[in-house]
Every structure is written in C-alpha cells, then in structure tokens.
C-alpha cells in the first residue's frame, strides 16, 4: 500500500484487527447493498461478542444472519429485524440484545458520527418509548429529543465501483446506509464490484470520497433477492 492506494488483496487483510467485543457498522438495507464477503470473512474469523449497527440483520443463511449461526453477535442496533428465525430464537432466549432505533435516527447517528457531531435533536420518537429518559428541548414550539451519534471500531460497506484511492460510486438503491456507514467507522473497509485506476471516475459523480476509506477490496457478489416481485411483461 502506498500513498493514497487503499487496495488490499485478501479478505484476511481487509478485516485484520477486528477483535472480540468490537462495534461494527454495516451498510445495506435488507440484503440489498450489503458487504456480503466482508460479513463472510467475520464469520470465518469467528470474532465474538460483536455489537453490530445495521438497519437489519440479514436473513437466515445470508448477510448478517450468518453471524448468528455461531452466536458472534452480542447486540444489534437496528430499525427492523426478525426476518430470520435464528434471530427470533436468540432474542427470545436472551442470547441476543437488540436496541431498536428509528430508521432516520439510525442514518443520522451514523452521519453525525462521521461528521464529528456527538449528538443531535430530532422530533422522531418524542412522546414514545424511544424518547424515554432522553433530553427534551423545545425549538420554535416543537419538542425534540437528544440522540447520540454512534461510531464503530470498524465500518464495512459495499459500493459498486471505486478507484484505488477509495473514491466510490454506489449503484441504485444499493447505496442506502453505505455512505454514512463509510464515514462512521474508525477503520472503514469497502468492498466493490470493480476497482479502477484513479482518474477514471468523474470527480463530479463520486458518492463517497476516498478520504473516508481505509481498505478497499474487489469481490464477487451473489446479490440475493429478498422479495422477488415481478410483473407480467
């Protein structure tokens, strides 16, 4: 690795330094735009007691769901979970802790962390269980609750293309949480479908500037579909 070149050649290198008890922020919505190979690498490493911050927890046998198989996750911070049986079992038996967070608040917690903002006020959740015990302030006649941002030891993200410097472009709604996740990890590991040379991507169309990316790896992706809704042609 030299200068701005972020490319690593193996998934072992990509996830090196991940330890038991760490917090990992993962991009993806459902199983769309998830860093599937980085997740599989964590599975292979067997790292335990992880706190995972991600909108969802994958499905049985795919995405973050595979980390439940060997009980690698201690706590999930998500807006919507339970698309997998194993998740339900571990939650009900008390082996897994879940902190439910409104989706927009979750996105903002990541964005704020990456931008050096420790907390922010939002109307979301005021007057509900989510607002319990949180600082309330009134601005212009409306009540807001204070939400703290969430940094990760690692963030794992999936983009479509990136140059070797980590300047990245996402594809369609596979963007979702990835741009914020990329900014919120102390070490950001990005996997992409294609790595190109610096200068090949138009600087005007970069979604994630390379400054946020620490390690970059090219992989192949299964891109499983969760709900195959199709109409007659």
């Amino acid at each position: 690795m030299a200068g701005f070149d972020k490319v690593v050649n193996t998934y072992e290198e990509a996830m090196a330094g991940l330890e038991d008890g760490m917090t990992v922020i993962a991009g993806g919505f459902g199983i769309c735009g998830i860093p599937e190979n980085l997740i599989n690498q964590i599975k292979k490493m067997g790292t335990k007691d992880l706190t995972i911050i991600s909108n969802n927890c994958g499905i049985d046998g795919f995405g973050l769901g595979v980390l439940l198989e060997d009980r690698q996750i201690k706590k999930m911070v998500s807006s919507y979970v339970g698309e997998n049986k194993l998740f339900e079992e571990q939650l009900l038996s008390g082996q897994l802790e879940v902190e439910l967070t409104p989706q927009g608040t979750l996105a903002e917690k990541m964005r704020a962390a990456g931008a050096g903002i420790p907390a922010f006020y939002t109307a979301t959740g005021y007057g509900t269980d989510i607002g319990e015990g949180k600082d309330v302030r009134e601005f212009n006649g409306r009540k807001y609750i204070l939400e703290e941002s969430t940094q990760g030891d690692f963030s794992i993200v999936k983009a479509w293309k990136a140059d070797r410097y980590g300047n990245a472009i996402y594809r369609n709604t596979a963007m979702n949480f990835n741009p914020m996740a990329a900014t919120a990890g102390k070490i950001c590991v990005m996997e992409v479908e294609e790595i190109v040379e610096p200068g090949e991507l138009d600087p005007m169309y970069i979604h994630t500037p390379g400054i946020y990316v620490d390690r970059l790896i090219q992989g192949t992706f299964e891109k499983r579909i969760e709900k195959r809704t199709v109409r007659e042609g």
Partner: protein, 218 residues
C-alpha cells in the same frame, strides 16, 4: 357497506394533487398508487433512498440493486433520483414530502398513533414509521375502524406503545373519513350505506357529528 381496500385507496387518492411527492406505507397504503387520477403526476418516495418509484419489474428488468422500503424489487419512474438513507430521511424530517399515507393499530383523539408494536408479540421494529409521523405535516392514516375482535381502533387514548405523539389529523377507515382536532374526532364523510349511528357506536373516542355527513361517492 364498509369500504373495500380498493375503495379506501380510491378515497385517499383524492387527497393527491398534481406535483405531489408522496410516501406510501407498507400494506393497504401501497394500493393508493393504483388510483392516481389520470393526467396527474405524483412521485412516490421510498425511504431506503428512492424518489420516483416505478412498478415492479418485468422478468428481464430485474435488478437486485433496486428495491423499495418493503424490500420488493421495483423500477424507477421517469425523473427519479436515488440517494442515501440520510438524504432520504432529511427530506422526510425536513417536511419536504407532501403526503404520507400509513396504516395503524390505533389512533386517538389527541392525534397520537400506535402502529409498530404489540406487547407480547415478537417486536420487529419501527423501521421508518417514527420518522415519517414526526416529519410529515400531511398524514393520512388508513386502517379498519375496528380490529378483528370488533374493538374500536379510534380511541380516547392509545393503549399500545406510540409511534408518534400528536401528529395525526386525518384518518380514513372502512367506515368513515375522520378529522382530528381540538382533542376530538370529527366525522367528515361516511361509507355508502353506513349510518352515522353505526360509526359513532364503533368509535370509542369522542366523535363530533355535524348535521350533514355526506356519503363517500364512487
């Protein structure tokens, strides 16, 4: 007769205006998209990061990288844009979405809404519902007037954990179109053939009834 799901969608679709950006919740609200009046342009927002959602793809259009907030495969409509989840909720929280339609378990006379969890049942999460009810100015709740046991879902006070406090002003049920203001329900329209008495009887919260309550026309 109580309204069918499609009739409910037709009635809610009358709240649309040309040029509206609209977020439709999962379930019955998605049916509203089938009843956009002809010649009217509306753009559907999906909170995972898509403005300008098109119909489901045909077999040869399938793209695993293009889904909606219900995780269904979709397409993009002409003039669509795609962005991050933070950007998506910025437009929701910033009040830029013109109309939000969502389902609920309960609504009460103070505009509180409960739609995301039933204690004792497996809790899956609120997704974007709390952000939507807190961020949108113009929300229509679409739900049945009573639950499957016949209990009213229009209450003096929500019993289930809230999704949002004091944020609902309009409810369309299978029996009536109701507005919420000044701590009361106000009956605005009724389903064809459904009497005012029946609606009042099936509404647990206080309902103000004007002299004339027109039937919803189809």
């Amino acid at each position: 007769m109580a309204l069918s799901r499609d009739q409910m969608a037709i009635r809610v679709a009358r709240e649309l205006e040309d040029g509206y950006y609209v977020n439709l919740g999962i379930g019955i609200p998605t049916l509203v998209a089938n009843h956009v009046p002809e010649g009217m342009d509306v753009m559907l927002q999906s909170e995972n990061g898509l403005l300008g959602m098109g119909p489901f793809p045909t077999e040869d259009q399938i793209d695993p990288d293009l889904i909606n907030a219900g995780k269904q495969l979709v397409t993009t409509a002409k003039g669509a844009s795609i962005f991050s989840s933070a950007e998506s909720f910025a437009m929701i929280r910033g009040g830029h979405v013109d109309l939000t339609v969502l389902g609920a378990f309960e609504v009460d006379v103070n505009g509180n809404i409960a739609s995301w969890m039933i204690p004792g049942k497996l809790i899956k999460g609120m997704g974007g519902a709390m952000d939507l009810v807190a961020g949108a100015d113009n929300i229509v709740v679409m739900m049945t007037h009573a639950d499957k046991y016949g209990n009213s879902k229009l209450l003096p006070q929500c019993k289930l954990p809230l999704t949002g406090a004091g944020c609902i002003t309009q409810v369309l049920t299978d029996l009536a179109y109701v507005e919420i203001k000044d701590g009361k329900f106000h009956l605005v329209e009724r389903a064809p053939g459904v009497s005012v008495e029946e609606i009042v009887e099936k509404t647990a919260g206080e309902m103000v009834v004007p002299d004339h309550v027109p039937e919803i026309q189809f």
